[in-house]
Structures are given as structure tokens and as C-alpha cells.
């Protein structure tokens, strides 16, 4: 018979390396037509990081995402970056880009200030224009300013900067310290059905609500969450590298069982409204944490459905059925 159950799990997860320095650098060049080029040493590994980084550069310069072209991943060309690891790209590389773009922007403010008869610190960027703070009417198009700065004043709008999250060493005896500059939080809730005669677990739905600070690109954050959950589902129910005397016995995708499209539940994603003042425009990160609470919430849902606590992952159908049988036997023993 199929038994329904629900379970939740929450989690916290840090952004960046544990104490160790993990800087990123960036260079932003504003072109004379008001578009910009961003140089970053990180690599696109699928998350859409380069689009997020373009959005951060664009935001700092008052441009649209499409105005920024990103050059990445070439040690001959791009500045250093600790890389696509530790959910750090949006936060650490993003902060470097904000600082680099601000330097380029400051060059433009210097050039625009005399044109608008104000001091540079009284200027802001918005909608591809440089304007007097709060006065869109007193503004000049950014391409005109770049052109003026570069070809008349001889001051091209290029900025380079780096960022490394501040941390405090951990005490070797007690671990006390500040290993990370910021953390994200999340809750996932699973709705499952357990077949108590086969042990098969079907996940009907997962609701996932994550904090990533400001979502720079909500669509890409959703993609991270959905993908993280699929990894979590595999970790929870199916995936395991098996060994026989140190030899892997299932090193192939026939016998290493990862989720297919038929094995994934419907996923409902929610993002909490949060802003981290230390991140680029309030952003933190979204990559790894999405895979963290999934297995836990599924195990709690199994417990809710059939009353067995799975203590060793993955919760294969066989393990679940064995646990159900043990529970039945114990109950019968108690009754006797």
C-alpha cells in the first residue's frame, strides 16, 4: 500500500572559502558607445555566472545586461580569480566587479561633473545616463561622457579591482572565529509516497524556499535550486558508488542510478526577501546550498509516511523496506 508523508529540513550555508583567502579580481572597460566589457578570470560552468556578473557590472554603470560583454577564462587575458567554487562567484567576483566598475564610473563622473556643473560625488548613473543625484532632467548620456573622457580628456574609463571576503582565523583548540563573511539559509519540504510492500519512495513534490540575498537574476537562481534538488534527490534515494575490494563496481550510468526526468518531482521555488549589505547589491550566493537540505527533508517525509528512520543514505527501496519490516517485527514482538 502507498503511504503519504511530508517532511521538512532547513539549513545554513556559508559563501566563500573557510578562512582561507579566496580573492577575485575584475577589470571593467567602458566603450565609447556606452557599452562595456568585463574581464573575469572565472569560468562559466553552467550556472549562468557570466550573465549574473554582466548584470552586476551593468547595474554599477547604469547599463542594461545586454550592454555588457563578458570575457572570461583565459590566463593570458583575464585577471586572477579563485574560480567557480564554494558558491562564491556572485558574492566575491561580484564584489570585485562592483569595485572595478565603480572605478571606471568615477572616471566618467570626473568627466561629467564639469559638463553638469556639479561635483563628481553629486552624480549617479541611471538608464544609460549620468545624472545629478535625484535629478534625471540634469543628465548626460553615458556614451557621450565616455567619448569625451577618452578622446578629449585622454582618460579612458577602465577600472580594475579585487575583493577578498574578510574573515577571522579560527582558534585551533576551539574553532572559535569568523570563518566566513556571510551565510545563506533555506528550507525545503517534501511530499512523498512510500510503497510499504516494495519500499519504493516516490517524491510527489518539493517546496524549496531559499535565501540568496538579492537574487541578481531570479530565473537563474530558480535553475540552481531545481538543479540542486535533483542532485539532492539522487543523494537521498539512488546514487551510490559501490566498491568491491577497492574496485568500483558500478562506474557507469547504467548502474550508477542518477535521477532521470521521470524521477524528479514537481518543484515549487520561493525566494525570501533579503538584502546583505556586504554583497553586490545585497546578493549572497545560490549554487551549493540548493542541494543541501533535500535528502534530509525526504528522509523526514519517509519517517512521516511509514514511521521508519533511515540512518544510512541512500534510502534505496530495499533499505526502506528492510526498515519497515524491522519495525513490523519489533511491533509484533512488543505485542507478543
Amino acid at each position: 500500500m502507498k503511504k503519504r508523508g511530508r517532511g521538512m529540513a532547513c539549513m545554513w550555508y556559508p559563501i566563500g572559502f573557510t578562512v582561507a583567502a579566496n580573492p577575485s579580481a575584475a577589470t571593467v572597460k567602458v566603450n565609447t558607445d556606452g557599452t562595456a566589457t568585463l574581464l573575469t578570470g572565472t569560468v562559466e560552468t553552467g550556472q549562468g555566472a557570466l550573465t549574473v556578473l554582466a548584470q552586476i557590472a551593468a547595474e554599477t554603470l547604469g547599463l542594461a545586461t545586454d550592454d555588457v560583454h563578458v570575457v572570461s577564462g583565459d590566463t593570458d587575458v583575464t585577471p586572477m580569480d579563485t574560480g567557480a567554487i564554494a558558491s562564491r562567484t556572485t558574492y566575491v567576483t561580484g564584489n570585485a566587479i562592483v569595485r572595478a566598475a565603480e572605478k571606471a564610473r568615477d572616471i566618467l563622473f570626473e568627466a561629467a561633473a564639469p559638463l553638469l556643473n556639479v561635483k563628481p560625488e553629486q552624480l549617479e548613473v541611471r538608464d544609460r545616463r549620468i545624472q545629478v543625484l535625484g535629478f534625471p532632467a540634469r543628465s548626460v548620456a553615458i556614451d557621450k561622457v565616455v567619448h569625451h573622457s577618452e578622446t578629449v580628456l585622454g582618460n579612458p574609463a577602465i577600472g580594475s579591482a579585487s575583493y577578498n571576503p574578510p574573515t577571522v582565523d579560527m582558534d585551533p583548540e576551539t574553532g572559535q572565529g569568523k570563518p566566513f563573511n556571510t551565510y545563506v539559509y533555506a528550507t525545503q519540504i517534501a511530499d512523498v509516497e512510500v510503497d510499504d510492500e516494495t519500499g519504493e519512495v516516490e517524491i510527489l513534490k518539493i517546496v524549496a524556499v531559499h535565501d540568496c540575498g538579492t537574487p541578481i537574476n531570479p530565473m537563474l537562481v530558480e535553475g540552481q535550486i531545481q538543479g540542486g534538488i535533483s542532485m539532492g534527490v539522487g543523494f537521498a534515494l539512488q546514487e551510490e558508488i559501490l566498491f568491491e575490494e577497492g574496485r568500483q563496481i558500478n562506474p557507469n550510468l547504467t548502474n550508477y542510478i542518477m535521477p532521470t526526468s521521470l524521477d524528479m518531482p514537481d518543484i515549487e521555488v520561493g525566494l525570501v526577501d533579503n538584502y546583505d549589505p556586504t554583497g553586490p547589491f545585497g546578493a549572497k550566493g545560490a549554487g551549493e546550498p540548493t542541494a543541501v537540505p533535500t535528502a534530509a527533508c525526504i528522509m523526514n517525509a519517509i519517517y512521516d509516511a511509514v514511521g521508519v528512520r533511515i540512518t544510512a543514505l541512500p534510502a534505496t527501496a530495499e533499505r526502506v523496506l528492510t526498515a519497515i519490516n524491522e519495525k513490523r517485527a519489533a511491533e509484533q514482538a512488543d505485542a507478543a
Partner: protein
């Protein structure tokens, strides 16, 4: 892949002759979903592939006076879309649907699957409960036998060297017979069977007639659970009886212990799945009775 000859014969006879001439270095190629994988990893001494997949004699699905003829080189995809199969052998369609994924079903052939003869071949139990037969062609001509006799052991069929599986026949009297198929794998998509179960039966009033139970992945070859069938034959259907038959089917199986599942777990699956396919077959038979009453 190592260097390999690729030969397309003109006819089944030609295929047999080429295989005879080339000896053990040649191998017939059907859909290739198993063979090409094997050749990439462990080619052995095979240096020629005789592609029989396009041979007219091995193609096509036809309903005749004798029953339903399925050419051995018909793909799972073709079976799933064939109106006669959908109507009269729905569990063969269901079993076909559980094979691999769309892409492998479009390449893989039902005959190739039977000849590969892995214990978990999905199509076998569904065919066995319909009393299917197979025809073979070899150097000595054609022969025909019940499908159970075709399987000899894991990856071993009754085929002589140079003999080819030509057709699968489902006799007319079992077409449309109430039946059910259930595959249990480690996931839903692209799963290999831990256990396959199929049942077919007729109801004469409340009595079970001509019960058939076949199981896959539970023994060196797909098997019929004949003792369980004997228990059911002629008996008035009830839940306890079906469960009893399921229990007996476990004793007729010899499941293995491996990294996918333990023997003990497979036994539990055999019982549950057998009971479920019997229950479902009875349900279908009852629906049929209701429908006949209305007419």
C-alpha cells in the same frame, strides 16, 4: 571500436550463409544497443558484423489466422505504436515501454533483446504468459518452438551457431487475454529490472482458467511459475489464493544476490509483484465479464 567488417546480407538465407562461412569471428547485428556496447568494451575476436536488422523476413507485425506475428527485428518503438499490439497485446506494449528510453527503444529490437538473453529481458515475461512461440532460421532451415524453450541460461539461447531468431508468434487464442505486466527497477526512467512479473488468465464465472505467470530477473532465464499456475487453475478467485500463488512463485525462483539488490529483497519483490499482476489480471478479466454482460 576496433576495426570491424560491416556486412548487409540480401536475405535471411544469405545472412545464415555468411555467418556460417565466417564462423565465430562474425556476429549478427540487430539494434546494437547491447552488442555495440560490448564491442566497444570487450570485442573479443569478433571482426565482422552481419546486419540483419533490415531483412524483410525479420520485419513487420502482421495479424494472421494463426495469431500475431512480430518480426524479430521489429523495434520496441514500432511495437508501442502498432494498433494491433496496443489493442490485443497491451502488456507487450507496456513491457516494451519499460525498456531503456525512447532512443534505445527506437534502435533496440524485440528479437535482439530475446537473443541477448539476459535474465532481466523485459519483453520475455510478457510474451511467455501469452504462450508465445518463436521461429528460427539456420543452416538446416526453419524451426519453431515455445518461447520458454528458447532460453537456456544467462546470455545463452537454444540458437545453434549461425542460427537466427526470425519471428515471435503470439497465438490467436491468447490475443486480448486479460493480462498484466509489472517491472520494478531502481528508478523510473531507463531502469534495469530487479524483478519483472507478468500474468495472464481468463475467468470462467469466478474460476480462474488458463492461468499464466512469468517472471524475469529472478532466475538464470525468464521463467514460468508453473506450480503457482497449477494452484490457481480452476480455482475460485479470492485474495488469499492469489497471495498463495505469489508465495509459491517465490519458491520457483532463484534470484541472485548482487550489488543491485539482495536475494531476500528480490524474493519479497517477486511475491508482491506476482500478487499485483494477478490481481490486476483478475480485475481486467472481471471488467471484460461486465462488458460482455452489457452486450
Amino acid at each position: 571500436m576496433r576495426p570491424m567488417n560491416y556486412i548487409v546480407p540480401e536475405s535471411a538465407e544469405a545472412a545464415v550463409a555468411i555467418l556460417a562461412e565466417r564462423g565465430e569471428n562474425a556476429c549478427p547485428l540487430a539494434g546494437g544497443t547491447d552488442l555495440v556496447v560490448d564491442l566497444k568494451h570487450a570485442p573479443g575476436n569478433i571482426n565482422a558484423l552481419v546486419d540483419v536488422s533490415g531483412l524483410e523476413e525479420f520485419r513487420g507485425i502482421d495479424e494472421t489466422d494463426e495469431g500475431l506475428r512480430i518480426g524479430s527485428m521489429v523495434t520496441y518503438g514500432e511495437i508501442m505504436e502498432h494498433p494491433v499490439c496496443i489493442e490485443k497485446t497491451p502488456e507487450v506494449v507496456a513491457a516494451s515501454h519499460t525498456v531503456g528510453a525512447v532512443q534505445t527503444r527506437n534502435l533496440g529490437t524485440i528479437g535482439g533483446n530475446l537473443v541477448t538473453c539476459v535474465p532481466s529481458a523485459d519483453s520475455a515475461p510478457a510474451l511467455m504468459v501469452l504462450d508465445a512461440e518463436v521461429t528460427l532460421i539456420g543452416t538446416n532451415g526453419w524451426r519453431r518452438m515455445p518461447i520458454e524453450d528458447f532460453f537456456v541460461g544467462p546470455r545463452k539461447t537454444i540458437l545453434e551457431p549461425c542460427e537466427l531468431l526470425a519471428e515471435i508468434w503470439i497465438p490467436g487464442h491468447t490475443l486480448g487475454k486479460p493480462s498484466s505486466f509489472y517491472k520494478f527497477g531502481l528508478r523510473k526512467g531507463q531502469a534495469l529490472a530487479l524483478v519483472n512479473a507478468a500474468a495472464a488468465l481468463e475467468l470462467d464465472g469466478d474460476r480462474i482458467v488458463e492461468p499464466r505467470i512469468a517472471l524475469g530477473a529472478v532466475a538464470p532465464t525468464p521463467i514460468r511459475a508453473v506450480k503457482a499456475e497449477a494452484l490457481l487453475d480452476g480455482q475460485v478467485v479470492n485474495a488469499k489464493l492469489l497471495d498463495e500463488a505469489a508465495k509459491i512463485s517465490v519458491t520457483e525462483s532463484k534470484p541472485i544476490d548482487d550489488f543491485r539488490a539482495s536475494r531476500n529483497y528480490r524474493r519479497q519483490l517477486i511475491r508482491t509483484l506476482t500478487r499485483r499482476v494477478l490481481e490486476r489480471s483478475v480485475e481486467i478479466a472481471r471488467e471484460r465479464q461486465e462488458k460482455d454482460k452489457l452486450h
